[in-house]
Amino acid sequence: MVLSMSIACSIFMLLAYTGIQSSPAAAESPAFIRIVHASPDVGTVDVFMDGMKLLSSFQYASVTNYLPLPAGSHNMKIALIGKGVNASVITQTFPVSIGKAYTIAALGMQSTKNLSVKVFEDDNTVAGNTSKVRVYHLSPGAGSVDTAESMHTVIHGISYSQASDYILVPAGSHVFDMTISPANVAIPVSTALKPWTVTSLFAIGLLNSSPALKFVTAQAPGVPGLPQTGSSPIAESSQPWTFLAIALCLLLTVAGSIYRRERSA
């Protein structure tokens, strides 16, 4: 009886110290998408997701915030404002994953019948008191884009419908010189980079006609890593007595049990 009680007590204590606990099942989390309208000759549009209107009167050269969207495959349609989902000029199906962030860009020219949607997977993790920058080249026919600061190229040769890798930049005011090749056209972009944020520079428009090429900036909160909020359930060197006490307890319990068993035999 006493032995079983002691064993039960020991197990209870070990469970408490090892922190074993029931964990609620992970519930479904959404993905997050933001939409960029970068089709120069398509006016203001309505955006439909899986047949339902997601955005009304979405203007050219606009960028939404990140919007939650259930993980899975989705069908997006873009139609001129007020025309309805059945008059869509762009239709695209794409998958999104739980917890991930995406940029969905409406690209191309209606006049050349090459409208499309491009899906970029984003990474908004920011490791510390800094800022991340990424360039998205969404300007049809504009060649490649170099990004420089203080005469130093920091992002090389991004082609149309491509996004750069992320670069880490100290927080503060910056002027990026965007050079379009081979035309060798330079466009300065001034931006204030807040710490712990991710800044996107979207090249939108047309290099040699209207609407003119410009850089649209969007800033999103940076995401840190998860904290370490647990501690060792076993006392460390600051409490060496705990190890000794546990050992003494177990020794006493086992010794008593053996002694009783030998005596009764």
Binding site: A26, Y66, A127, G222, T229, S238, L248, L252, Y259, R263
Partner: protein, 222 residues
């Protein structure tokens, strides 16, 4: 014969005594950290009792002068979760050298930590507050009972400007760190959210962390 029987009984009692002593000590060892610790699973200290009785007065108590209060920006000062008896000061935290959300420094086991580069509780976006699950040795820390929370439970944040923000819990979920919905936890700007984080799962000594993180998602009420 009587003497032998007496000795035998005495020896048996000695064996029982050893066991009893072991059991008692085991019990004490288990209970001691709980008694020493003033986490959510223990009776509150006198300071906690006072604060729990008068939560609404605490933010104003922290102000030294009206002038000083006026020049300070709003920050969250105290977290209260009545259903699990959490009533904890809030420290301002940023990130560690590794880029992870930092934890409270002044009172690591009793305070909660608000991620100050992120959203203020009550504003549009995802405010995040973390807290330790346990202390070294296993005794409960401030968020020990977070796993007991249920959908609909209230969470209150008292701010430096005397405002109390009310939230209710919408989801409680545990994730492997690599599978956690980070964008939802930190980056959802489509509403006013408060997300609480602590550890869950099993301690892995070789990694110096537990296997999971418990995320409590809450939505702003008023």
């Amino acid at each position: 014969m009587l003497l032998l029987r007496h000795l035998s009984n005495k020896e048996e009692r000695m064996g029982s005594s050893f066991q009893s002593a072991g059991v008692c000590l085991l019990g004490c060892l288990f209970l001691l950290p709980l008694l020493i610790g003033n986490g959510a699973g223990t009776p509150p200290t006198s300071a906690e009792t006072t604060s729990m009785q008068k939560p609404a007065t605490l933010p104003s108590m922290q102000r030294t002068t009206p002038l000083e209060a006026e020049v300070k920006a709003e920050i969250p000062l105290r977290l209260m979760i009545p259903s699990i008896q959490v009533d904890a000061p809030i420290e301002t935290v940023t990130t560690t050298a590794e880029g992870n959300l930092a934890t409270p420094i002044q009172h690591p086991w009793d305070d909660a930590g608000w991620y100050s580069p992120g959203t203020l509780p009550g504003q549009m976006g995802s405010a995040v507050i973390d807290g330790h699950l346990n202390r070294p040795g296993g005794a409960p820390a401030v968020f020990w009972n977070l796993k007991q929370l249920r959908i609909g439970d209230a969470v209150l944040v008292f701010t430096s400007t005397g405002i109390t923000h009310h939230f209710h819990i919408t989801r409680v979920a545990a994730y492997q760190p690599q599978d956690a919905p980070m964008e939802e936890i930190f980056g959802n700007t489509n509403g006013r959210y408060l997300n609480l984080i602590t550890c869950a799962g099993v301690w892995v000594a070789s990694q110096g962390q537990t296997t999971q993180r418990l995320i409590v998602f809450a939505t702003f009420d008023s």
